[in-house]
Amino acid sequence: MIRLVPNHATRIKRSETVTFTFDSEPVQGHLGETLVAALMRAGHLNLREAPNDSAPRGAFCCMGLCQECAVIVDGQVVEACRTVVSADLVVERA
């Protein structure tokens, strides 16, 4: 099939994969990428429960504003879209 927009997937070289944990489960991510990208790739979309209706929520704005991807790292609530993946990172649900 003719593609006017080429598939670049194979031409992208990424950093080594490292293992971190989300909710005590091991997750693979590329060193230095955003936590949101790694969690999405691993299929971890549901990051937290909304107040009041307890509905599942996940990353939404991807630019550090909506606070939907809030998770806990080192006891501190952080935005997964502004947090970088490193080996042995321990990520908990907020």
Binding site: L4, G32, A37, M40, N46, G58, C62, L65, C81
Partner: protein
Amino acid sequence: MSDLNDIAVVGAGPAGGNAALVAAQSGARVVMLDEQPAPGGQVWRGKTASILLAPVTPETTAGNGLRSALSESAATHLADTRVWDILRNGDHWSLQILRNGATEQITCRSLILATGAREYVQPIPGWTTPGVIGLAGATSLFKQTLSLPGKRTVVSGTGPLVFFVASEIRRLGGEVAAVITPNTRADWARATPSMIGQPKLLARGALWMADLILARVPILWGHAVSEVEGRDHVTGIKTINLKRGVAGLSFATDSLCLGNGLIAQIEAAQMLGAAIRYDPSLGGWVPVADPDGATKVDGLYLCGDGCGIRGAAAAALQGTLAGARAARDLGFSAPSPPVRPWQRAERFGRAMTALSIPHADAHALTTQDTIVCRCESLSRRDISTEITTGATSTNAVKSGKRAGMGPCGGKYCQTAIAALIAEQTDKSTSDVPPPTPRPPLRPVPLGQAAGDFDYDDLPIPKPAPL
């Protein structure tokens, strides 16, 4: 004060970056503060360290150009830095910034805000389901990490962004289940004259569309996503034909990129006293500023999408105008660049914004049970009841229902709430201003705001009379 900067620039996108460059060239002492690890803003976002090698795109080239110019410039760039409060202190501005897990204070004589845009997403049933991300949000994901929101994605929204996102998904090896846009072919035909002046962008857009057609990706013109299915994650979407008001095709998908145009991030400017006005062709409420960024507030300059959505090309040009103006006003010899190129770029930007703003019937997509305020899980019914019982301003709805008191500070609900107030009280949207902006501009960990302290040194005033 020895560490007083001449100019602080908030934001390092095309506007802020260029403002910092020209101001630093004039000899001013410039500091540029930005939330991201690298300059570029949302539109020219830099890649994370996880990307070792990747094909170059026009956004990469533009961003790299700005990044290398800034790295050679005398402007100080503070990355990964959040400005959480700004206050006028006598003849200078004091900025509270969060950096490396601690609050620092930066001072400057003049301030340039280049706070950019965020996106408006019309609330629809299921839009809070994990797997639904913003359309502009998706571009951040692509540019920064070259990763995808899912394996098979529906892309829905207004303006050119919907085609860019679909094209990027294909470029990065993903599958586009469908492109759904409320715009019609006639909308685009009307916008074409303003695009003639930007042949490169026009050609790029045509290529994206042709590629999607060749790949047999369904493109549903004049349609919107009416419902997202799935609980823990997206499993599918339903559509509606907006003109005929009947259901359109449904698609199985694991992700949805959804957006209805950009809106200016005006909170900081508003907080500092800049007047605001309503201009739908600039994305809604915008602060009042001259083309060169000057405002009625002494020492405050605004540029880029933060004072109206005009796009990256216009933002870069206005950054230069504002940086030069701010430097000249402080007595530095900076150039006086012509305004014409900005005006040309602005025409194109406005045309794209006009395509992107939600159609009048978009609000009907928000059913009574649809969550409008994500932070507090408030439905349209909750908000509407509050309006019916007499809360007729965004501040009043916020007080009564906490819509806007959650962690996002109303950034993702206020536009929809203002539209509901206007509709229910027979007012024009221009008569329903956004709520009072307050610091912190982003959530700040209390300990990091408070900083290290000795109890005995706390400046505790004398107690109230007995």
